[in-house]
Symmetry: C2
């Protein structure tokens, strides 16, 4: 067997690349990033663990894409322009084929998103991916969770619930047709962070959050931070054809409590309806109005006839007693 | 048994604190950090894995300290002022006692170092700690690895090798007296990052690196990045009393190839000898000149009589075939 490559050689071979926007990229104790006058840095960290955030044996190219995508989604939800990221990687073994596929999946999305890998760490250990992303946003234009106001309309991008539909198929909870699976599996394995939409919503939307733990759970974070409530019309949430084909109760459960969607949930003054549609058009991402922000705290969930929906949809919690 | 606390409650209880320097701290999709005119951000990430970077069952308060210390050490080696950090934490179980001790160890060092926790992520998984630290440094004053010049003196802070001496004691490779162990074990478990020294060396030193993987291995990074060589007088490296008491071969191995020291190794023009000593005095950290940077690439290791030392001291490599 050939000698496995050493740690530093690995980094150089698969991950080292020019970082033209950075003052200094990979290879020193720290990367150096210039400050840009009039902008703030948005910073977010996400850790992905095998068996929890992705299945054991996940295809490495998709995994590389997804690990960066979920972090870019946090920048999108803040209205920040992606600029730089670091990658810390614990690997049980240093498998060149795996690393090649993983890094190419990650770096392809990095290139498409204008974000540069500027530093990182690799070590042996149970598979774990930890990324920190940095982006730029003008002060006062960041889309904060605490900015929802009574009277705002509530919007969502894309068709949330597809990732949960795909996960249930993989887990054997239900069975999708090959054609349906082909459409929804990429929504789970290779989500598209809504970076362009986040940028287009600067100065138009009030609050925003990305849907990682389920629509209602993430909406709850916005409501608590903003001190407001919401009325949600569950049946106005856009469904993909695959999701529209399943029974109502399952569809709603996927849409309202399914995680891993990485769509944006946002609020905006009701009178900006046309501006929101223009922003979505510019970003080429479909959006839909699904409810309203109200002064009274709490969440009122309604069906298309305006009747209250009583089901309880727990949000995803990594440490919840279940 | 009481219900284990949920993920978000955990974060709030043990880690959420005011971050007065940040525009926005924990609790949104991203933290927001203002740019300061005339300064650059230094960014570094380190991942610590149980069984590799720390022993299983490590005392959580020390572990919290050490996880931040090794990251602060990277800022120190860049001459950066610590400002903000994120913490991603994978835990097998959410044990309140463990979390209380871990967070108090980490946050005590954060307070002492002027760095604020601004964001993070917690998940269930094999114990893994990933920190990203951010600090500020004026352009042109960062202590880069590629800045060593022929004619520079080579310096080191403190007494490298103690952490390796402590590790060998714990591993049963050798036996220290209780008094010796009491002195060197904290050097392994609770290293003191040389932040003040890094700041004091701005504009005085040329290149710097922190000793995490062993003095010679880390020196090698500086030499390669700078395109120079070095002559090191192995016997001029300061030894703690515990290390001075062991046989020469073991002492040298600990000093030259032991990792986990988090001392600073740096170069400076020889004529700045007095300025370096003044900087060390201001930072209250002892430093010693241990060699010289030369134009010819490669490393020449000498004893106190000027004789060449032929031993091979491999640097620490997490993926090296051993």
């Amino acid at each position: 067997m050939p000698t496995p490559p050493g740690e530093f050689e690995l980094i150089a071979r698969y991950f080292r690349r020019p970082a033209p926007h950075a003052v200094l990229g990979i290879g020193d104790d720290c990367a150096l990033l210039a400050c840009e006058p009039g902008l703030q840095w948005a910073v977010s960290t996400d850790m992905l663990v095998e068996g929890r955030h992705f299945l054991a044996g996940a295809e490495p190219r998709q995994l590389g894409h997804k690990a960066l995508a979920v972090n870019l989604s946090d920048l999108a939800a803040m209205g920040a322009q992606p600029r730089a990221f670091t990658l810390a990687l614990a690997l049980p073994t240093a498998d060149p084929q795996w690393l090649q596929a993983f890094s190419s999946g990650m770096l392809a999305l990095a290139d498409a998103s204008g974000i540069e890998l500027v530093g990182g760490d690799t070590t042996r250990g149970p598979l774990n991916l930890c990324l920190t992303v940095l982006g730029l946003v003008p002060p006062e234009l960041a889309l904060r969770r605490d900015a929802a106001r009574a009277g705002d309309a509530l919007w969502v991008s894309g068709t949330p619930g597809d990732a949960r539909l795909a996960l249930g198929h993989l887990r054997g909870e239900w069975q999708l047709s090959p054609a349906q699976a082909q459409v929804v599996l990429p929504r789970l394995h290779a989500p598209q962070p809504r970076v362009g939409l986040g940028l287009a919503l600067r100065g138009v939307a009030h609050a925003a959050i990305d849907i990682s733990d389920g629509l209602l759970g993430d909406l709850g974070h916005v409501l608590r931070a903003s001190g407001v409530g919401a009325v949600v019309d569950a049946d106005s949430i856009p469904a993909s054809p695959a999701l529209a084909a399943v029974a109502t109760a399952r569809r709603r459960a996927c849409q309202l409590a399914g995680g891993d969607d990485y769509e944006l949930l946002f609020t905006a003054p009701a009178h900006r309806h046309a501006k929101i549609l223009q922003a979505a058009e510019r970003a080429r991402v479909p959006v839909a109005r699904i409810g309203s922000i109200v002064a009274e705290p709490g969440l009122q969930l309604r069906d298309s006839a305006g009747r209250s929906i009583a089901e309880h949809y727990p949000s995803f919690d990594h440490f919840a007693a279940s």
